[in-house]
């Protein structure tokens, strides 16, 4: 048996095996939730939530361990390439995805019992979606890319519609499912055309074949261009870039909040991982990477539209959850700026993109987690008015929410500040001054709606007789918030080490 191969795949294997065990454990657990019961501990959630978080953290630990051993030293790990590539890029994203998934599972452990949604199948769904996301981040072939994408998406569709009795949740699932599968079909057709033009389904082979073509000539090159357009549109749907973002606010608002967290964090990171792999791995040569006739101007346009539209619309929202959904679209725009810079400035720029995704993950988990913490059964915190005065009545919850909002807004010394700083630095280094300026202007606009939440929390009193949000009590949610909060501060105070790690991971793909 080949131990190097097993070790190389161990993050995937550990997480999959844990998921299977939890499924069996859930099936044999006698505790079934009664929708009318008021007993919060009736459901199977607490053990499963902890089990899920431990499983995913184990995946993250294995990824980190292989990082220190050095993936290039594992003999035999390359025998599954290009379907699954075990390199530092994969390990970095495996770590981030497992971390985001584990924190989302902890949030679910508090949220689901509180809102009487306590059915155990949520946890296997989260685990297997994460497996799909990890495959997506490690895929060097269109086939495994598609498999990972669908494994991830199918689980998330079910998680969005998890609150079956609620029309909002089901409607969100309908919208997300339809647009998600439409995007997957576009992506696939692009892949099929690429195969037709190049004869390869692996990204490296596609890159080589494109590099050998005569740019701008022949029917094969026309096929490649069509395929590139289809694939970029499909990926833009997945990362929810404007104008392909229509599903995002609806799906994020209607879904149970732990699912929203998971979508904003893991699904988005995995989509960006595969975007980096495809754009740089497959479309990195043969004129496709040029500023004159390639993808960078298209992605730059998407970035500008995404940042600007999302920030302008986010400011007009009345629901905090929907505002956070638009904020996550805006953050996708910031990342896209980094993706454009990657083509010119190389590994450092790509490292800044990956570092940004890490800071975005911890800040977003925290923000949604704080929103979960603010609500309880029948008194969920949704609108700005719900949050009036919470900061004074419940200082700890208010402080946590403020910290994560400041990080999302990019205020030092939080993680979000350095995430933005490095992206701006990378785009200036690549000579993309207009993009850097638009990014800065947009983050000023975004401060408006983040600060508005804090104004409501600390400076407003609820109107007499208005329903007020009652914070829930849950050790799981509190744990997730503490972990996310510590990471936000650590990444904000000592950003250089993790940036170096991200750059090292980025260099693995070049």
């Amino acid at each position: 048996m080949n131990s190097g191969l097993f070790l190389g795949l161990s993050p995937l294997l550990v997480v999959s095996l844990g998921g299977l065990l939890l499924m069996v454990a859930e099936a044999f657990s006698k505790r079934r939730v009664d929708e009318t019961s008021d007993d919060r501990d009736a459901g199977p959630s607490s053990e499963l939530s902890l089990g899920t978080a431990v499983t995913l953290l184990a995946g993250a630990v294995f990824a980190a361990a292989i990082w220190f051993v050095g993936p290039e030293k594992l003999e035999g790990a390359s025998s599954v390439a290009p379907w699954v590539i075990v390199d530092r890029f994969t390990l970095f994203f495996s770590f981030v995805l497992c971390l985001g998934g584990a924190l989302a599972a902890l949030l679910a452990g508090g949220y689901l019992p509180e809102h009487r949604l306590d059915r155990g199948e949520f946890y296997p769904l989260i685990i297997f979606s994460t497996v799909g996301a990890m495959i997506l981040a490690s895929a060097g072939d269109l086939l495994s890319l598609f498999l990972g994408l669908e494994t991830m998406s199918l689980g998330v569709y079910a998680m969005v519609g998890f609150r079956r009795a609620s029309l909002r949740s089901t409607e969100a699932a309908v919208k997300y499912f339809l647009l998600g599968s439409f995007a997957a079909a576009l992506l696939l057709y692009g892949g099929a055309l690429l195969y037709g033009a190049t004869g390869h389904t692996d990204l490296a082979g596609i890159r080589e074949a494109i590099a050998n073509m005569q740019p701008g000539k022949g029917s094969n090159f026309a096929l490649v261009i069509t395929a590139a357009v289809l694939i970029i549109v499909g990926l833009a749907f997945k990362v929810s870039a404007v104008p392909f973002h229509m599903w995002t606010p609806d799906a994020y608002e209607g879904a149970p909040t732990p699912t929203t967290t998971y979508m904003a964090v893991a699904v988005k990171c995995a989509a960006f991982a595969t975007m980096l792999r495809v754009l740089i791995g497959a479309f990195g040569e043969g004129g496709l990477e040029s500023w004159a006739a390639g993808w960078p101007p298209v992605v730059a346009l998407l970035a500008v539209l995404t940042m600007t539209v999302a920030n302008l619309v986010a400011g007009q929202q009345e629901s905090v959850k929907r505002m956070l959904a638009y904020s996550s679209i805006a953050h996708a725009g910031y990342v896209l700026v980094g993706v454009v810079a990657t083509m010119r400035a190389g590994g450092d720029a790509q490292g800044s993109v990956m570092f940004y995704l890490l800071t975005y993950t911890v800040s977003t988990v925290g923000a949604f987690g704080a929103l979960i913490l603010m609500g309880s059964r029948g008194a969920e915190a949704v609108s700005y008015e719900d949050l009036a005065g919470v900061g004074k009545r419940h200082p700890a919850a208010g402080f946590a929410f403020s910290l994560f909002l400041l990080s999302l807004a990019g205020v030092p010394p939080t993680a979000g500040f350095f995430g933005k700083l490095y992206i701006v630095k990378a785009s200036i280094g690549a000579g993309l001054y207009p993009l850097a300026i638009i990014l800065l202007l947009n983050s000023v606009i975004s401060a408006y709606y983040y600060l508005r939440v804090m104004v409501y929390m600390y400076m407003r009193e609820p109107a007499p007789g208005a329903p007020i949000a009652k914070p829930m009590r849950s050790g799981y949610v509190a744990t997730a918030l503490v972990v996310a909060g510590v990471l936000v501060l650590v990444l904000g105070l000592w950003p250089t080490t993790s940036l170096q790690i991200a750059v090292e991971a980025a260099l693995a793909t070049r």
Binding site: L142, L143, F146, L147, E150, L154, Y157, A158, G161, R164, A165, L167, R168, T170, E171, A172, A173, V174, K175, F177, L178, S181, F182, A184, A185, L186, L188, Y189, G191, A192, L193, Y195, G196, G199, H200, T201, P249, D250, E253, G254, V313, Q316, Q317, R322
Partner: protein, 102 residues
């Protein structure tokens, strides 16, 4: 006499366009599901047709098997979601999914 490769590719492109246009203009959730299936089948046809050009490997045909399997799984999840929607709303018109908006 063999049918030229272009014919297959053009038929597949026409199928894909039918599916995509159908997805964008129709308002019945079940028809939308069918449009997506049509698009996936167009992809299958494209892959199998191009496989004739690259005789050395069978990547295109193998890819097709995976797409068929995934399409079945996707249809199962999609129908379940549409069913859940129908139970609550007693309709499958996509225009009636209008609760969530700005």
């Amino acid at each position: 006499m063999t049918v030229p490769l272009e014919y297959f590719v053009i038929v597949a492109a026409a199928l894909f366009m039918t599916g995509a246009v159908g997805f964008l203009i129709r308002r019945n959730l079940l028809v939308l599901l069918m449009s997506i299936e049509l698009m996936l089948n167009a992809v299958n046809l494209t892959l199998v047709a191009f496989n004739r050009q690259y005789v050395g490997g069978h990547a295109g045909q193998i890819f097709t098997f995976f797409i068929i399997a995934i399409a079945a799984a996707e249809a199962a999840v999609g129908l379940a979601i549409v069913l859940a929607f129908f139970r609550l709303r007693s309709t499958v018109r996509s225009d009636d999914a209008d609760l969530l908006r700005n």
